[in-house]
């Protein structure tokens, strides 16, 4: 079995390090070990690592399925992971709001949209499993107290409007209620607890973990090592590695530290990498998604991201050098991020393009006020004023706006083939609001391979690794080349719930 070889190899490597007198530069390095002769410090029934959507949903579902002693471990000082700072956008087919708004949708349609964005390498079975259970997951958030805007949104790459968004326009509108629900039903939550490797039985199955308690993120060597036995198994819900610049650059050398990142600082990937050491199949690691709706005028996800996600369907994105549109504003994320990165000045330096929206339409989103208030967006009364501020040639810009408004009228965009349905009646006219756009690393499509039961597959045996489950961004292959917006929350929650169900039946 691969696990035993792996342990042997690790010990061998450690030996070399000691012999050569090399200082171990990465004290945070996790190493799995055999359970043979282990002195357990603690024993729990269900052990979940990571406190984002996937971990929280898994904890609630495990409890609903009868688990009495469920524990979530989080390495950061606060709970919620990357989920607590994302856009709070939740796609699902056949929802009550779609019925209300007369939107015709189905599991098959949502899967087809995702397969198209995945460019032929997405995992259809997993996409279908998530789409089939997405409404259930949505219901879990509603039961916990999440509130959503009373309208649906149609995000880039989706063929219909199927996206809910929390009223606070943030994933915290879900993680906070789910965390409270976890506390209410008796789930134990531990912060400053860093996963430090698996503990394996003689068959190579995961029977526990090593954990460093009292861990401080800015002190990599901190924390006291404890060994925790997990009676039913371990659910890895540890997210992606978008904040790990070395790993990012190993996959795509252009994603240097100079490229921004929307993720929470903890998204560094150790949980994923340790599963690879264990034998998990690495899938699609090089497919890293950048968000084309981010702004260079603020850090992280900020306020502009949700502002532009909402406004893209009835806005025009303009290259400041030419004064012309340069992309379909609701194409999928990769198409748009690549197009934005091409916007450069005569010397080849980045020249972040601008997104122009009529204030009449933009003001319907709650972030518009904040974007203006916190100086990450601007309002102008005329095209001249706007053009002067961003040094855009005014004549081509005026012509472009006139042409685009004709597309709004005819519901046909011969320039970039944009679906104009959501732009109906929404002409680009003064006063305008404007933000600058520049992509930020946002999501790791790659990760460990799982099946529709959230079991992690071993690369050498082809079998599921006993006692090990994974859910959320730590898993790879589901979305293929490009994940559609609002498709991660349903995935995290459905696969978290699935992992709990599989574990409770095992």
């Amino acid at each position: 079995m691969s696990n035993k070889d792996l342990l042997g190899r690790r010990n061998f490597i450690k030996g070399i390090g000691a012999a050569a007198g090399v200082a171990i530069a990465a004290p945070a390095m996790a190493v799995s070990e055999s359970a043979n002769g282990v002195k357990w410090d603690k024993e729990v029934e269900v052990l979940i690592i990571g406190s984002g959507f996937a971990g929280l949903a898994a904890a609630i579902e495990a409890t609903r399925k009868g688990a009495k002693d469920v524990h979530i471990f989080e390495k950061m000082s606060y709970f919620g992971g990357n989920s607590a700072i994302n856009g709070g956008l939740f796609a699902a087919p056949d929802t009550p709001m779609q019925k209300q708004e007369g939107v015709k949708d189905s599991v098959a349609t949502m899967v087809a949209d995702q397969l198209a964005a995945g460019r032929g390498i997405a995992d259809e079975a997993l996409l279908r499993h998530v789409a089939e259970h997405a409404v259930e997951a949505l219901q879990m958030t509603l039961d916990a107290g999440s509130e959503y805007h009373p309208y649906l949104q149609q995000l880039g790459g989706h063929s219909v409007a199927r996206t809910y968004q929390t009223t606070v326009s943030c994933g915290a509108g879900i993680t906070q209620p789910l965390l409270q629900e976890c506390r209410k039903i008796g789930v134990h939550t531990h912060n400053r607890a860093k996963f430090d490797g698996f503990i394996l039985d003689e068959k190579g199955g995961v029977v526990g973990v090593k954990m460093r308690e009292g861990y401080y993120f800015d002190k990599p060597e901190s924390g006291e090592l404890v060994r925790i036995k997990a009676k039913r198994g371990v659910i890895m819900a540890t997210g992606g590695f978008a904040q790990n610049v070395n790993m990012r650059m190993a996959q795509d050398p252009t994603l240097t530290a100079e490229v921004g990142c929307t993720n929470a600082p903890g998204a560094t990937g150790e949980g994923m990498f340790e599963m690879f050491r264990l034998g998990a199949v690495p899938v699609h690691l090089a497919h890293l998604q950048s968000g084309p709706w981010a702004s260079p005028d603020e850090g992280g996800f900020g306020y502009v991201s949700n502002y532009s996600i909402y406004n893209f369907p009835h806005s025009i994105a303009i290259d400041r050098l030419s004064g012309k549109r340069f992309m379909n504003e609701i194409a999928d994320r990769k198409t748009r991020a690549d197009a934005e990165l091409n916007c450069r000045d005569a010397q080849g330096n980045p020249l972040p393009p601008i997104l122009i929206t009529s204030y009449e339409d933009s003001k319907k989103h709650p972030n518009t006020k904040k974007v203006l208030k916190y100086n990450v967006g601007w309002k102008f009364d005329s095209i001249e004023e706007l053009a002067k501020h961003f040094e855009v040639p005014v004549a081509p810009l005026k012509q472009q706006i006139a042409e685009y408004n004709e597309y709004v009228k005819t519901q046909n965009d011969p320039q970039f083939g944009k679906n104009m349905t959501e732009a109906k009646g929404k002409y680009i006219k003064a006063p305008f609001t404007v933000v600058r756009l520049w992509p930020k690393v946002h999501y790791c499509q790659g990760g460990v391979q799982i099946n529709t039961k959230a079991e992690v597959k071993d690369s050498l045996t082809g079998q599921s690794i006993p006692g090990l489950y994974a859910a959320g961004e730590v898993c790879g292959g589901i979305h293929g080349v490009s994940r559609l917006g609002s498709c991660s929350i349903p995935e995290c929650m459905v696969m978290g719930m699935t992992a709990a169900r599989t574990m409770m039946q095992a």
Binding site: S77, Y78, F79, G80, A84, V168, N191, F301, Y303
Partner: protein, 117 residues
């Protein structure tokens, strides 16, 4: 034996107080805490204060009230914020001996005029 330990403790406390004089401390804390480093360093002198240490004296509900913002900006209250509620450990934004930026500034351009880095 007991006496011995006590003596050692006193000597150590003396050393700690000496070194503490060179360390930056907030004026208002000097008055209350004086040179008793252990008042905050409940996890040992080499470690950060625990997440509960500040709450011996400060009440999170009071703090949330003091830093409350208008209805429209209510979730920008650092002591009761959108992402983490009232659970954000104090040391994420505050350092007694070192300057720190509010955690919000990772992603937002909010201004907290009273925040001491």
């Amino acid at each position: 034996m007991k006496k011995c330990k006590l003596m050692l403790g006193l000597v150590l406390a003396g050393l700690v107080s000496l070194s503490a004089q060179a360390i930056e401390q907030r004026d208002y804390h000097k008055e209350v805490i004086g040179k008793d480093c252990k008042a905050c360093h409940d996890q040992g002198m080499k470690n950060y204060p625990s997440d509960q240490a500040c709450l011996q004296c400060h009440d999170v509900d009071d703090l949330a009230e003091q830093s409350a913002r208008s209805e429209e900006d209510k979730w920008q209250n650092p002591h009761n914020n959108l992402h983490y509620g009232k659970e954000l450990p104090c040391i994420e934004c505050h350092g007694e001996h070192e300057a720190k930026k509010p955690i919000c500034s990772n992603c937002h351009t909010f201004k907290y005029d009273k925040h001491k880095e």
